[in-house]
C-alpha cells in the first residue's frame, strides 16, 4: 500500500509521554466479586474502561469492569513479606479444628 507516513503514524503529535497505567478488575458473573485481571495503559478513565473491554472481556464475558489508577494502589512491602504473610504454622489456635466441641452442641 502506498501509505506515505510510515515514520509518524500515531498522529498524536509525536509525544513520547506514555499513557498512565490502570489496574483492571472484572466481575465475571453476578454474585461474584470483582477480580484483578491485569493492567493497561489509557489516556483517561473513560478510555481505560473501553480498553479493558477489548483486552479482558473479549472471550469470557464479564458483567462489570472497574479500572483504578495504578498509582492509587498502596501495596504491601515485598521486603517485609515474612512479617505479613508468615504461615499459620504453630498458630493452630487460629483454626476452628483446634477447639473441642462443647458437650451437647449439635449440628457441627
Amino acid at each position: 500500500m502506498s501509505e506515505n507516513n510510515e515514520n509518524n503514524v500515531t498522529g498524536l503529535g509525536g509525544s513520547s509521554a506514555e499513557w498512565p497505567l490502570w489496574e483492571v478488575f472484572v466481575r465475571s458473573s453476578r454474585g461474584l466479586s470483582h477480580v484483578h485481571a491485569g493492567s493497561l495503559h489509557a489516556p483517561d478513565a473513560t478510555m481505560a474502561v473501553r480498553n479493558a473491554r477489548d483486552l479482558y472481556t473479549r472471550r469470557n464475558e464479564g458483567t462489570s469492569v472497574w479500572v483504578v489508577p495504578s498509582e492509587a494502589v498502596t501495596a504491601s512491602d515485598p521486603d517485609s513479606k515474612g512479617g505479613y504473610f508468615e504461615s499459620a504454622q504453630g498458630k493452630s489456635y487460629r483454626h476452628a479444628t483446634y477447639y473441642t466441641k462443647s458437650e451437647g452442641v449439635k449440628h457441627l
Binding site: 502506498s2 501509505e3 503514524v9 503529535g13 495503559h41 480498553n51 473491554r53
Partner: protein, 275 residues
C-alpha cells in the same frame, strides 16, 4: 432460519448467534437482487476491515492497536455474513467473492477504500462510517428478508461500540492539543467528499422495497448526530463538494485496485491454500 437474540457485543462464539456457516448451510438461497444488495454491505465491511488491519502493530499504543484490530475483525465478520449470503444466489463461497472478483465487480463505497493516513484521518473515517452503518443496521433489522435482518441484528451491537470508539477519539483529538485538532480536522476534510456516496439511492435498492434500506432515508439522522459530535469536539463540519461519481462502480476509485492487489494476492497465487 431463526436466530435468537443475544446480549453481548463482545462474545465471539455465542451458542445461538448467527454464523456464516448457518447461512451457508441454512438452505435459504438469496434472491438475485437481494444478493446484489448484500454485496454493497459486505464489500463495505470487507474493504474497511482490510484497511484497518494495516494498523496492527502500528497504532499509537498497544491498547489502541487491539481496539482497531477488534473493530476490523467485527467488520470482517459482517463481510463473511453478507458475502456468504450473496454467494448462495450464484453457488459461490465467501472466498470466491472476496478473492476472485475483479476490481470492477466490487461494490464498496469509496469512503472505506480511502487511505488510513495518520491516526486522525483513520478516526475521521471511522466516525463517518460507523455513524452511517449504525443508522443503516438499526433499520435493516426490520428487513423483510429474514437473513439480512438477522445479520443486522448481530452486527448492530458491534457497530454501537465502533461508534463509541470513534466518538471518544474525536472528542479527545478535537479537544486535545493544537496538533491533534489540526490532524483530525484535516482528516475530516480529506474524507468528506466521499460522504455523499453513502446516501446515494439507486435502482436496485429502490426495487427491493422493504427488504433493503433506502440510503437517502438515513441522511437526516446522520447529519444531525454528526453535527452534534463535531460541535462537542470543537471541530468544523466540512463544507466541500462530493467527489465525482458515486455509484459504487469503482470506475472512479483510485484505491480499490491497490487494496485488492494486497488482499487477493495470496489466494490467487495459491488457490485453495489453508493455514
Amino acid at each position: 432460519m431463526s436466530f435468537a437474540s443475544h446480549d453481548s457485543a463482545t462474545k465471539q462464539s455465542a451458542g445461538n448467534a448467527i454464523t456464516a456457516e448457518d447461512i451457508r448451510e441454512g438452505g435459504s438461497k438469496a434472491p438475485e437482487d437481494v444478493a446484489r444488495y448484500a454485496l454493497y454491505l459486505g464489500d463495505d465491511a470487507l474493504m474497511l476491515a482490510q484497511r484497518l488491519g494495516w494498523w496492527i502493530a502500528r497504532a499509537p499504543e498497544l491498547e489502541e492497536d487491539i481496539a482497531l484490530a477488534n473493530i476490523a475483525l467485527d467488520l470482517l465478520g459482517h463481510a463473511r455474513f453478507f458475502l456468504t449470503y450473496a454467494g448462495t444466489a450464484w453457488g459461490k463461497t465467501e472466498d470466491d467473492l472476496a478473492y476472485f472478483r475483479d476490481e470492477e465487480e466490487f461494490r464498496s463505497c469509496r469512503l472505506v477504500e480511502q487511505e488510513n493516513g495518520d491516526f486522525g484521518q483513520t478516526i475521521a473515517r471511522q466516525l463517518i462510517f460507523s455513524f452511517y452503518q449504525y443508522e443503516l443496521y438499526r433499520r435493516l433489522v426490520r428487513s423483510t428478508d429474514p437473513t439480512l435482518a438477522a445479520i443486522a441484528e448481530k452486527a448492530l451491537k458491534e457497530v454501537e461500540y465502533h461508534q463509541d470508539h470513534a466518538s471518544q477519539w474525536i472528542l479527545r483529538l478535537g479537544l486535545g492539543t493544537e496538533e491533534s485538532k489540526r490532524r483530525v480536522q484535516d482528516g475530516l476534510y480529506y474524507m468528506w467528499p466521499y460522504v455523499d456516496e453513502l446516501f446515494h439511492d439507486d435502482e436496485l435498492i429502490e426495487s427491493l422495497g422493504d427488504a433493503a434500506v433506502l440510503p437517502s432515508s438515513l441522511r437526516a439522522d446522520f447529519d444531525r448526530r454528526i453535527a452534534e459530535i463535531l460541535d462537542e469536539a470543537g471541530l468544523d463540519l466540512p463544507e466541500v463538494a462530493g467527489a465525482y461519481g458515486g455509484d459504487r462502480s469503482g470506475e472512479f476509485s483510485e484505491q480499490r485496485g491497490h487494496i485488492l492487489a494486497e488482499m487477493q494476492v495470496l489466494a490467487r497465487q495459491h488457490p485453495g491454500a489453508t493455514w
